[in-house]
């Protein structure tokens, strides 16, 4: 009896684990930044969940990696599960919603267009002044 109850309990936990699919949407703000919003299929909040920019290729260097790819930027979604982030100065990258093992979503990053290059530079200077992004990530974003 006890064993069957434990089995039922384990099954319920297992179902719960898989009942909320992680979701990520990315939009181009067309001002040098991207808008990223996360969520779960059961309506649970994505507030505070980790969001990353990673290179779009395997990396074997010494810098921090996520699933074998170099991390360009790492931050968190705000309490509404969304954030605006400055675009990295790279040709190709991926945006990752990391809600833990089995709950990771990748989306293609949006590159800086020629028309928004001056906006992007302005944003970068603002960030440097405000120190709102750590130097470690800023170096990767600027990618001189």
């Amino acid at each position: 009896m006890k064993k069957s109850l434990m089995l039922v309990f384990a099954l319920v936990i297992s179902i719960m684990t898989f009942a909320h699919t992680p979701l990520l949407m990315v939009e181009d703000n067309e001002d040098g930044t991207v808008y990223a919003e996360g969520g779960f299929s059961n309506g649970a909040s994505a507030g505070g969940i980790e969001i990353l920019f990673v290179e779009d290729k395997p990396y074997k260097g010494l810098e921090a990696t996520f699933e074998g790819k170099k991390i360009i930027y790492k931050g968190k979604l705000d309490e509404e599960g969304a954030t605006d982030i400055i675009k990295p100065n790279v040709v190709s990258y991926q945006i990752v919603f990391n809600a833990g093992p089995g709950h990771i979503v990748y989306k293609s990053g949006i590159r800086i267009s020629i028309s928004e290059r001056s906006d992007w530079k302005e944003k970068l200077e603002e960030i440097k002044e405000e120190k709102s992004i750590s130097e470690k990530w800023l170096k990767n974003i600027e990618n001189k």
Partner: protein
Amino acid sequence: MKKLNLKRMTILVGSLVISSSSFAHFQMMYTPNSNVTEQKEVPFKVMFTHPADGMEAHDMSIGKDIDGKIKGMKEFLVVHKGKSKNYASFLKEVKFGPHQVTAYDFILDKTTSFRGGGDWGIVAVPYPYYEGSEDIYIQQITKVFVNKAEIITDWSNRIAEGYPEIIPTVNPTNTWVGGLFNGKVVDCEGKAVENAEIEVEYLNAEVDMEDSKFVGLPKTEKAASLIYADDNGYFSFVPTSKGYWGFAALGAGGEKGYRGKELSQDAVLWIEAK
């Protein structure tokens, strides 16, 4: 004897048809697809019609009073992440259907709260329409949802505070043909409407968004039904065709009057069966 019965039956059927058509008014807000994940803007056609009749539908001018004056839309709310804003001034007047009745176009875009992902609830509050055949006014508080990126934010909430409303208990942008759809009818104070009478109609035509009219042959004969909510205001329905289904809880707003006439304040919800 058989002849007499047939005559009686014809009268009975005739009166039933008149009765059902007189209750089958539906305020609509239509957009081709309730999944708007790939869209930067979402166009809506806002019209007052008899959707189950398809191209034969009798359309009406929104908010037309007893004197024939068209007062249009009182409020047009866009609700996202619990925040509600009235965009009535963003409605563009258009003429709909063969009789060129007054309808509206609305674009959900960056200027009207369309940013990010989740559900957007659109709530129309038209001025009451005078229905001469019944000598009453009809006001249908109407709701429809669109969703971006499958993120769930608003569909299960009460979003038309102060008005009667149908609150879905199944995601209205992710309902399936042959699958059960449930909802709850509430009055202006959010209390359950016991045994609410609910007209159900299927949008039995395509909508020509550019020329503002219904087009195409009727898709099905099973396009209209009448159901009742239970003692707690809950009802169930199984959509039998792909497309939009409307639910109108008649008089859910309670006993009301408008300009000396009876006012039927109905709660309408549209869902898209996929």
